[in-house]
Structure formats: C-alpha cells, structure tokens
Symmetry: C4
Subunit: 271 residues, 4 copies
C-alpha cells in the first residue's frame, strides 16, 4: 500500500481530486478546502479499511455526501476498494451522474448511493458490500439480529431486499435509479439492509461511524451464525439497550468508540 498511500502522493492526490471535483471547487474558501481534504482522506482510508477488515473484496463501494452541496456525493471511480487513491475520488449528483467523469469507469451500482442520499437527509455516508458472512443471512429465513453490543444498531431490524419482487428476474444488480429507490424503500429509516444473494447496504450520519457499522455488522453476523450453531434460544440485544448504547456513541470523543477503532483500523490498513 505504501507506494499508493505515501504522503507525497496523498497530497498530490487530494490536490488532483480537488481540481477534478467540479468547477466550484476553485471558489471554495480555505476552511471548506480543509474540510474537503479531510473528507477525501477519510474516504480513501475508508476504502482501504473496509478491504483490510474483510468487509469488501474486489467489489463494494463507499461514499460520503458532499460537505458543501447536499445534492452531491463523493465516491471512487470503478476500482477495487483496496486500491483506491485520492485521484480516484469523483463527484456525483443524486441521479448518479458523474459531474466530471473524465471518461473514468464508474460503478454500475452507484444508484444505491444516490437514492439513499435523496431519500434520507440525515444520512451522510453509504457503504455497499458483499460482506461475506452477511450474505448467508440474505438467502435464508434467519433474521440478522444484534447479539453483540458493538452491533447494537442492528436491533432496529435488518430487512432483506428481494430484487425479484421489485424488478422480476434481472442481473440482481442495482443499476438504475428505480432499483435504488426500491432498495431505499426496503431500508426505510434503518442503518442496514441486506440484498438477497448479493450483499448489504449500510448507512450512517457520518463516514467513520458508517465504516464502524459495516465492520461490526460482519462481526455480529459471524457471532450470530455461531450462536445458531450452538442452538437453543438466543438472547438478542434489546432495542432499549441499543437506544442507550447508541446515545453514548453520538459524539466524537478522543479515545472512545468510533475514534478508538478508527485509529487502529487506519494503522492496520496503511501498514
């Protein structure tokens, strides 16, 4: 990773990305530029963290809502997440159109992102993955529920999107706004939905917390699978417990919660 992630290239990278992302960037003031740079750095890190943690393999993508323009979002060009650099970050509108594509390949399922941002104003980051232990729950009748504190957000329930109901026999890919809208309706106001035989979508109020949710969704799926293997009644995290757990996670406190794991994941991903 070093050759892609070295400081020199990273700086060059976000400068290039800034130059690429719409004409209006030139008009950004200094503070907005700093904010944008931080978000691009985090978005590149998010790609590499999700790869390193086994949530994405060659497929999957992560996006963040544009900090200054709520009807835009940032996401990599079509590339394996573990190889994404700042130069790959592109800007899209909420119909999934690239603002300045420069003929780079783009993810065919970008509509997962555009439709979620359209429907949910309080969502600022979206992840689509083929999270490996999540997929078995998408093709069976066992609901993915929270058994571990760190994934308590699953206590809200995890619906399964069935493309066949929304669009009949297809390639089972979310390759249009219509399909993305159908998925978003299944998701409702929850943080996670599964896509049958395909993967999941994870959303959240900010990028780092959404990355954490995607990782602990996979971790919790492994634990629940093992609990089912052990058999008998399973004690799930109660929605009331989740409420109290989540309220303690709301802010960014140095050394706690998402901040603690992010620093570790970042170090692991750039090792």
């Amino acid at each position: 990773m070093n050759r892609y992630f070295a400081r020199g290239r990273r700086v060059a990278g976000w400068l290039a990305a800034l130059a690429i992302i719409s004409m209006s960037v030139a008009a950004l003031d200094a503070q907005a530029q700093t904010e944008m740079k931080g978000l691009i750095d985090d978005l590149v890190a998010a790609n590499r963290i999700l790869y390193r943690q086994g949530v994405v393999d060659g497929f999957g993508h992560v996006s963040a809502r544009h900090p200054g323009k709520p009807d835009r979002f940032l996401m990599s060009a079509a590339k394996a997440p573990g190889r994404v650099t700042a130069e790959d970050i592109m800007e899209f509108d909420l119909d999934g159109n690239p603002i300045d594509g420069k003929e780079r390949p783009i993810y065919s399922e970008r509509f997962i992102h555009s439709e979620v941002y359209k429907a949910r104003a309080n969502v600022n980051a979206v992840i689509h993955s083929h999270s490996p232990t999540v997929i078995p729950f998408s093709v069976t009748q066992v609901p993915l529920r929270a058994v571990h504190n760190t994934a308590s957000f699953l206590a809200a329930g995890v619906p399964v999107f069935e493309m066949r109901k929304a669009a009949g026999m297809t390639n089972n890919l979310v390759t249009s706004s219509a399909r993305g809208k159908a998925l978003t309706e299944t998701l409702g106001d929850r943080p996670v939905a599964l896509l049958r035989g395909h993967g999941n979508v994870v959303v959240g109020p900010d990028l780092r917390r959404t990355v954490s949710r995607a990782i602990y969704t996979e971790v919790n799926a492994r634990m629940l699978l093992q609990a089912v293997t052990l058999g008998g009644p399973i004690t799930f995290i109660d929605p009331e417990e989740n409420k109290q757990i989540e309220s303690g996670r709301g802010t960014r406190i140095t050394g706690h919660g998402v901040d603690r794991t992010w620093q570790m994941w970042l170090e692991e991903a750039t090792r």
Copy 2:
C-alpha cells in the same frame, strides 16, 4: 515472491519459456510473440493468484490453450503453483504429452486439461484444485449451488465425478486420458465439476475469467455451507438471473468485473 517475480527475472523467464515452447516459436511473428508473452505472464500470475487466494495449496494446476495452436496447451512443470515462474511453463499436446519436456517433472493429472481441451472447443483455460470448502460438497449429498451473484455461473449445476463409477477402486487420480475423458463427460458443457474426495475442475472462455470462477466457486461454497448451517429453505440464484449476470460479464472492460478483481489479485499475489 519478489525474488522469483522481479522484472529482470520475469523477462529472462519468458524469453526462456519462448525458447523452450516448441521449435515453431522461432517462426512466430512479433504480434504472436507479444500475445504469447502476455499469456505466459498471465499463466504465472494465475498460479500465484490461485495460491494466494487459497484455491490451491501445494497441489492443483492451471493451464491455457495455446493461442496459435488449438491442439496444444500451456501449463507449468510439476511444482507447487505458488512457486511457478515463466521458466516452468511447458507446452503439451492433447494426449497430455509434453512437447519438449527437458526431463522436468510433469503433473500426473495433466489429462484433466488435455481431455477438456479436446472435447470443448470454446474452452481456453482449465483449473484443477483441491479448493478446500468445495471438497465437503463432493463427499455429501448437498449440491453446490449458487447463492451469490459473483458465482452465478454455478446456477448451471455442478455435477460430481465419482471415479469409482468410471474406473473402480483406483488411486482416485486422473492419471490417464480415459479417466480424463470420463471426467469431461461428467462436466458436460458446464463451467465446474467436483471430483469426489479430491477437488474440482473449473473451465472458461479465457484465463482470467476462469481464475475468477475458481475463486468465487470457493467463496460461494463457504457461503452455502453457512446458509446450510443457518438452515431452512435457501434462495438460490436463478438460472435466468445467471444468464443476465453472465451476459454482462462477457467483455473485458477496464475497471469492471474480471478486470477489477484481476488487478487486485495480481497486486496481492506479488506483494
């Protein structure tokens, strides 16, 4: 891997390989030489990728049909796939005879490859592996079926080859043209067949796509095993879904499908 894969040795390697692979190589024109060099590079990479992804261990082999002579195929001398270099690539005819063996050891099960190429003109790459999670499906009655989009090609059905039916009590190895022919008949026109208590054979229209199939066959086997553990009715990828998914994979588009994962796997295998 660096000491085997460094550019210097690689160049020396394919030159040596070109020199080795039949006298007619000298007569190849420049374009054919470039094509051959690319294929040898890909074949070495395929060996190392399949090892790095856990599809092969010390055993297993991967071959590609000769780009200029359809009745020949290229495959490594007998060696652990993760250690294969360009110098190891040999040429074989469709009876499994090496063209210029130079007394190197050769895989005793090369007839898996020769018989598939003989029977199926549209197959240009063959992989035999002891793919670990695939073997349990070969010794039980649970069919290996597609639960994940990326392995939709399994929707065609995955037959199990039983050597005892073809040849009685043997060493359970495909060490003759007759056994290879029997296996090929079980495979039929499908992309994957299992060998009971032994492994699988995976075929495809080109090398990179066949590598992808072998990897996602293993990934899908893990997911199906977990789905069986969860229990209840399982929703499989429908043959019609597979048809639409596969039609979208047909071409080599930069940044999409097989190209996206190949670039990642290559980077992982040469790290």
Copy 3:
C-alpha cells in the same frame, strides 16, 4: 509496531510512565523500580499480545495490580490495546479513579478491574475482552466448558453475567462500581465469567498466566463450538484433571507452560 515498540522509545516510555504514576514513585528504591519497569513492559506486551492473538480488537483492556500498593492497579489510558505504549500506562485506585490522569481519556469500564481487585486479594491481573468465539456462548444456553488441557481452568465452571438482572435495561456496559461489583459476585472465585452479549472477564494470580488464560479461553471456545457441531455426548476435562494440570502450572519454569508460550507470543506481537 516497530515505531512504537523500539527499544529507545520503550525506555523513554517506562521512564515517562514511572514519572507519571503517582508522586510516590520518586521514593521507590532501585529494586522496586526494576520490578515496576518489568511489569510495565509486560503490561504493554500483554496489550499487544492479546491483540495479535485475536482476543481483543479495538476494544478490551488488561490491568495488573500495583506491585507495591495492593489498593492500586495499572492500566492503559483509553486506546486500542494493539497501540498501547508504556507512556499510556496509568495508575488507578480501587474506586476506578485515575491517580494522575493528565486529562487522558480513560476506559469507561475500568470498574470491571477495580471491583475484582477489591474483592479478590489473590488476583493480580484482570482482562476484559470481546473474545469473538466466547460471545456466542454468552447469548445461548450452552455452557462454556473445558474440552482441551490448555484451558482446563474452565473446568471450574464459567458463569454468565446478565446485566439486565443486575441493573435492568442499560447500555450493557460496566460503567460503575455497582455494576462491577455485581459482575464480581457472578464471577465468584472462578477465573473466567462471560458478560451476556458483550464479552468476558478473565483473572489470575499473575499477568502472564492471565494472558494465557484469556488466549486459551478463546481457543477452547472454538474447539467446543466445533465439538457441538459434530454432535453427541462430549467428554469434558474433569475437575480432578484440571486440579492436577493447574498444579503443574503453578511456577514459572523456563521453557515450560506459560513461559514457553509467552516468549512465542511476545515474538509474534513485536514482529
């Protein structure tokens, strides 16, 4: 890890830590300083070993009773265990108050440690983890019992702490002395207790042995899960066998038991 763990920084680290840990350190004689330095080194190593062995991820913590003051214990500031350095080691009293916090973030569940030290005079080390294969046992009815010699200490029985019984619907975290006390009562005189939907607590007579217990609790959980998968009656380690096994582990003999594995784990963690 090298940049955090290099000898130079480590020496600087324990000097800094000594300076930080209460004013009375200045009065320590040379022997006590050496003992303290050794313990801080071991505590940093314990954090990194537990991370490297997969017992802790970003969460979890490990502490040791102060060698000179039995009503104090040493533990890192709030940080992912795999990133802890000697500078992070802090001193706490048995109400969970930091002695000289220097405004560093502290673990909200430090009361797990303080209450165990308060209740059990023969315990000198405490580990709290989200040991992944242990958690499924905390949410089902299958008791975690010893199936492997190296985890024979589990033959004493592994109780499960249910926060709902102790404190009703909460965030399921041990964030007060009262909750810590309730957990300690469930633990009783045993080496391990599970926290439902959360993790475990592991205690022991010294730090290295407690680290070994935490690691083999996870290893044994994996084996028991597999034994349950195989089905049928399971032969557990008998309490009498445990008694004889544990009596042979009591001392620190070079090359045997805890010493043998500690040297290996240390090498793995600092590689």
Copy 4:
C-alpha cells in the same frame, strides 16, 4: 524468523548441535556428518513448518530417529516449535533420557516419542501436536476418517487414546514411559492416533512424510467437520483407494508428492 534462520547462524547451529549430540559424533565419518546435518536442518524446518501451517502453536514437538543409532532420537529442547534452531536439537535414548542435556529444559511428554520408537522399528519420525481441528474429534463420538485423497492414510482408522482408561484421573499428559507405552498400544500399526482432550500423535517412515501427514490430518479434519455440517451420508476414502494412493507416494520424486509440498512449506516457513 530471519534472525534465527540466517545461513550464518544455521551453519554455526548445526556445528554446535553436532558438538553437543553425544561424544560419538566426533567419530562420525564425513558421509554420516552430512547425513546428520541434513536431518538437523530438516528437523528445524519441520518445527517451523508445523508452526507456520497451524498444526502446532506454542506446544507440540517433532522428533526423528537417529540415522546412525536406532535406539536414539533427536528432538528440540523444551521450546515453542516456531522458535527452534539447530542449537536446540538434543539426543535422547528410548527411555526418554537426554544424552547430554546441558541443563536445558526438556519436553515433559518426550515419552510419546521414545515409546513409539521402541515399539515400531519402521517409524523414523514422530509428531505430537494440539492440532486444533483434530481435538473436537477426540472429545466426541465422530471418528476422524479420510474424506480427501491427500489424507488417505487416515483410512486405516484413527483410534482415540483415553488417559483415564490407562491411568485414571491424571493431568492428562504423557509424562512417563508407562503412559507412552499405553498410547503406543492404542496407536497400534496406524499412522495417527488422537489423545482425548489433548491432541494427536502422527508417525511415519521419514520426517518429511510425517510432517505432510500431520498437516493433512488437520486439513482433512476441517473438511470432515464441514461435511458433517452439511449432513447426510458421507463418502469416505476407501481403504483400497488409500492403498493405491499410498503406494504412489512411497518414494521421493522431485516435484511430486511430499517433495512438492515440502519445498513450498519450507519457503513459507522461512519467508
């Protein structure tokens, strides 16, 4: 591993080991010295390979019969196998006594080795391990049987040694000749036996083949566990198939069988 395994130290190591292993070494002629050096190198490699492949962790040991004196065997001093160097290799007699211990710690379960060598003249290597997926089979009623060609040697049957039957309630360790003899009687003329709640013993005609057996015993255990998870009747490797498979493995052929995997494992272990 490099710092322990570098060529310079390795040469120094076997010289030191030669000097240590009994006074009679001085009298060895040049050919015998070369043979001994090769065996010590292989024994060190075997320790590191078994560690790298996950068959041993901090515990477990591997020995080889002395090439010149059939009533002696070579084994490391008490140390984690992954850390063994040539200097650690010691000579023992068939009562488990070290010939020139030099006060180094020795494995308390060396009687597993001494008794096997005493009882079986055609065995030249012995491995004891806590092979992780093997242990669940030792505490349940599911026999460990061969489902994969590479572990066909298990078709001879894998008995389980129950210490309680041989010696009552003990520490479940083979710490005497009497216990070693009882284990050897359970093993009979087979290549593998399990020790209930403890691990296994694997024997063979030479060191490299025995290492291969230990590794594929673990691999086969994983596959059988998965087959049991899938359920239904399982097709095992037939004893007659094993006979034909094993007869093809008898010799050391460059690039085939044990030679192929040994070269790979060696490279992995010294990477």
